[in-house]
């Protein structure tokens, strides 16, 4: 007993002050929200060619309209991005940089596509979440072929340092107890039915969150016949959290803004 108390004293109080106080430290090599700026040489496609997932569109979109803005006809879809940085390394004009801005999530899929004129963050607010779940948001997690990285960095939010229980957010064991489904993974064919059934078991008003680039658009498994390119084809998604995996701060920021809770914004 004395040893337990001694250890308790030694370990101290470790819950962070965020979202009211200081933001937890991010590593200096952290690859967060991409920034597009500058002028691209005519016809340059180096960034798009460096991405095997088609996250970058240069010039004309498939529907014929123009991507990006004048002088920089580039747009980057964070819903397909693994944040590997290959595009930034390939750009001869250094027009793409991965900043330390951790606010990646969006409530609308189209807000994940960024151009040189995109705002620093997209809205994550869900009217339903704010109205019904502002003080208590119970999440049921389903890993549908997730690699255990998104799962681990979601789970970590329940540990004492992040303690999302402070905001009434908690992972629960049954979909019957849940307000929202937090889905990870590209959704394998072999998990599609289980995901559908879990979603069907949630009582309304229910919400769905796609956590990680796999769950949004398939990630590295894009267009594999064994997967369904993410959760969107199975479940209507209310919150998209990109990353491979998203940093816990990115996930917590998304969940809090989803409910309409005020957070410290990224500089």
């Amino acid at each position: 007993m004395l040893r337990v108390l001694k250890a308790r004293f030694f370990q101290g109080y470790r819950t962070m002050k965020y979202p009211r106080g200081s933001v937890p430290e991010l590593p200096d090599r952290f690859q967060g929200r991409p920034r597009l700026e500058g002028t691209c040489p005519e016809g340059c496609r180096a960034c798009a060619d460096a991405c095997p997932y088609g996250a970058i569109t240069v010039g004309a979109r498939p529907d014929g309209s123009n991507a990006g803005v004048a002088g920089m006809p580039v747009e980057l879809d964070m819903g397909r991005c693994l944040f590997c940085g290959n595009c930034a390394a390939a750009c001869p004009s250094k027009n793409i940089a991965f900043t330390r801005n951790w606010q990646l999530a969006a409530a609308r899929r189209e807000d994940l596509v960024i151009t040189a004129e995109s705002p620093r963050r997209a809205s994550c607010l869900s009217a339903t979440a704010k109205k019904y779940y502002y003080k208590s948001l119970k999440l049921r997690q389903v890993s549908a072929a997730g690699c255990n990285a998104c799962e681990a960095d979601s789970n970590v939010l329940g540990t004492p340092a992040w303690d999302m229980g402070r905001f009434g957010i908690q992972f629960v064991a049954s979909p019957r107890h849940a307000d929202a489904l937090l889905i990870t993974g590209p959704v394998s064919e072999n998990m599609a039915l289980a995901l559908e059934k879990t979603w069907a078991a949630l009582p309304g008003p229910r919400l769905a969150i796609a956590c990680g680039t796999c769950a949004i658009g398939g990630g590295p498994f894009l267009d594999h016949p064994e997967t369904l390119n993410g959760a969107c084809t199975t479940v209507p998604i209310d919150l998209f959290i990109p990353g491979c995996p998203p940093h816990p701060l990115t996930i917590l920021d998304a969940l809090l803004r989803f409910q309409g809770i005020k957070v410290t914004d990224s500089p």
Partner: protein, 507 residues
């Protein structure tokens, strides 16, 4: 050396040979040679088939701790062959896989159930529906069956478990996987390309460094590119940090499963601090974007090493306060002692690897048995326990963590010492073109145990075949064995004491 050894091609871990040089034996001889080799204290690291002109070439990859080398030996089969499993139980999961993928039937195998419920490679073959298969059953009064999953109660990957119970006692646990199948091995053929490294990094997300660095060494073996010593140090750091982080998380989770909250809470936080060390190296907590064929993408200068060393010191102090607490608490040990025993004989027979094997007294560790990379010159011995129970699997993790702490310290010191040495980065392009008609083997000791990759290239230097064996592939059956005659309520504890990967198995 025995006569049969001479028919096996032995090569160093992380080397390549022309595929034509791999010995091809007659089926009967091959079966005898493989069985002899396994009976002689070697391991079955991989067993797989490659399709060739309407028949299949069966390859066995055998790890030999005595020679510190990997043996490769093959045979041709059309349609069916007498199975290895009856003589060598460690082949049982591999032979199910071979049957599922190729329709080649290992005759006499106890039950050729699907391993992953994959789309068949052979045109016209029956396509199984996930989870729909026969299961073991038990009959009698008060006998009942408990089915769990694929969706589990926690934040955890999916898989299906079936318990055959009499009262509270589990007679058998059957594990049916495949829910996580993403087609990685299929997609790796035709590579390497821009996606390849990402497949390796996400094959099992908690083993990003283990799989990615095993792949990098495989490509380096094929091309003859030598990564700089600094790159090898950085990779070894990533692997040891990965081991520390996962072992720390597991110890916390084990404490949680027996209701001992102090260690659970402390370890869950400390695990994050260890992941943050990896993020200091490469920006990502799981080691994504750290390693590439030919080297690493991020260097460590003296300043960064110093910062890592300070973090390590703080983490060590926190761990020393948090972990022994659990082992010194009688109520914790009472739950773990004698729970979920896997005997040494069973561990060897079914081919367990990693901490699970070492907890049962089997001293297998690729870092020692088949040395590679910057680990060569580190002082290291393989810790083992004898009990084979949950307590042993917990204490083995703590012993390994303490070793890893010292290794990380030594690696950081080496990185500082070599500060002025030349770096070899940006060589990825040079290793994009592989030599044709080669076969390469690369093994590493991930935190769960032996990671084995085997690749073959076609005439154009593209992967015609890529086999990944995650340690979980060897160990899932060990979890089933540990549950025999246990209370069903001990399942979470036993499961956590193995903590196996679903996606690493399903690929």
């Amino acid at each position: 050396m025995t006569a049969s050894d001479e028919t096996i091609l032995f090569i160093p871990n992380g080397s390549a040979v022309p595929t034509a040089q791999v010995p091809v034996l007659r089926m009967g001889t091959w079966l005898g040679v493989v069985a002899n080799c396994l009976a002689g204290g070697n391991r079955l690291s991989a067993l797989f088939a490659i399709e060739a002109d309407n028949r299949h070439q069966l390859f066995a990859v055998l790890g030999s701790p005595a020679r510190k080398q990997v043996g490769v030996v093959s045979t041709f089969v059309s349609g069916s062959y007498p199975c290895l499993t009856t003589d060598c139980p460690s082949a049982h999961w591999f032979e199910r896989e071979i049957y599922e993928l190729h329709g080649v039937e290992p005759e006499g195998h106890p039950w050729l159930k699907p391993v992953r419920f994959v789309r068949p490679h052979v045109q016209g073959r029956f396509r199984p529906t996930i989870g729909v298969t026969g299961f073991f059953g038990m009959e009698g009064a008060e006998v009942h069956e408990v089915g769990v999953g694929p969706v589990h109660a926690g934040v955890i990957e999916p898989g299906h478990f079936r318990f055959q119970c009499h009262g509270e006692t589990v007679y058998h646990l059957e594990i049916s996987l495949g829910y996580q199948h993403r087609g990685i091995e299929r997609a790796l053929t035709g590579g390497p390309d821009g996606r390849t490294i990402h497949y390796l990094e996400t094959a099992a997300g908690d083993s990003t460094m283990a799989h990615a660095s095993t792949y990098c060494r495989l490509v380096e073996a094929l091309t003859g590119v030598r990564p700089s010593r600094h790159s090898q140090i950085v990779r070894a750091l990533g692997i040891e940090l990965e081991r520390m982080a996962n072992h720390c998380g597991d110890l916390g989770a084990l404490a949680g499963d027996v209701g001992f909250l102090p260690t659970q809470n402390y370890c869950s936080r400390i695990r994050g601090e260890i992941l943050n060390m990896t993020a200091v190296i490469c920006g990502n907590r799981f080691g994504r974007n750290l390693t590439i064929p030919g080297g690493v993408r991020h260097e460590l200068n003296r300043e960064r090493c110093d910062s890592l060393r300070k973090r390590l010191d703080a983490i060590e102090a926190d761990l020393v306060s948090a972990v022994p607490l659990m082992f010194e608490t009688p109520s914790v040990m009472a739950r773990m002692d004698g729970t979920g025993i896997v005997t040494r004989d069973d561990a060897i027979a079914v081919g367990l690897v990693g901490p699970a094997a070492r907890a049962s007294g089997v001293p297998v560790d690729v870092r020692v048995d088949l040395p590679y990379g910057a680990i060569d010159d580190l002082e290291f011995h393989v810790p083992t326990c004898t009990a084979g129970d949950c307590a042993a699997r917990a204490s083995i993790r703590w012993m390994e963590m303490r070793q890893s702490i010292e290794m990380v310290r030594a690696l950081l010191a080496a990185a500082i010492r070599d500060d002025a040495a030349p770096r070899a980065n940006g060589v990825e392009q040079a290793v994009r073109t592989l030599p044709g008609n080669m076969m390469a083997v690369s093994l590493s000791e991930g935190w769960r145990g032996e990671v084995c990759h085997v690749a073959a290239t076609d005439g154009d230097g593209r992967f015609s075949f890529y086999k990944m064996v995650d340690p979980s592939f060897h160990n899932w059956f060990g979890l089933a064995l540990s549950l025999r005659n246990q209370q069903i309520s001990d399942f979470p504890l036993c499961n956590k004491s193995f903590n196996l990967s679903y996606c690493g198995h399903d690929l």
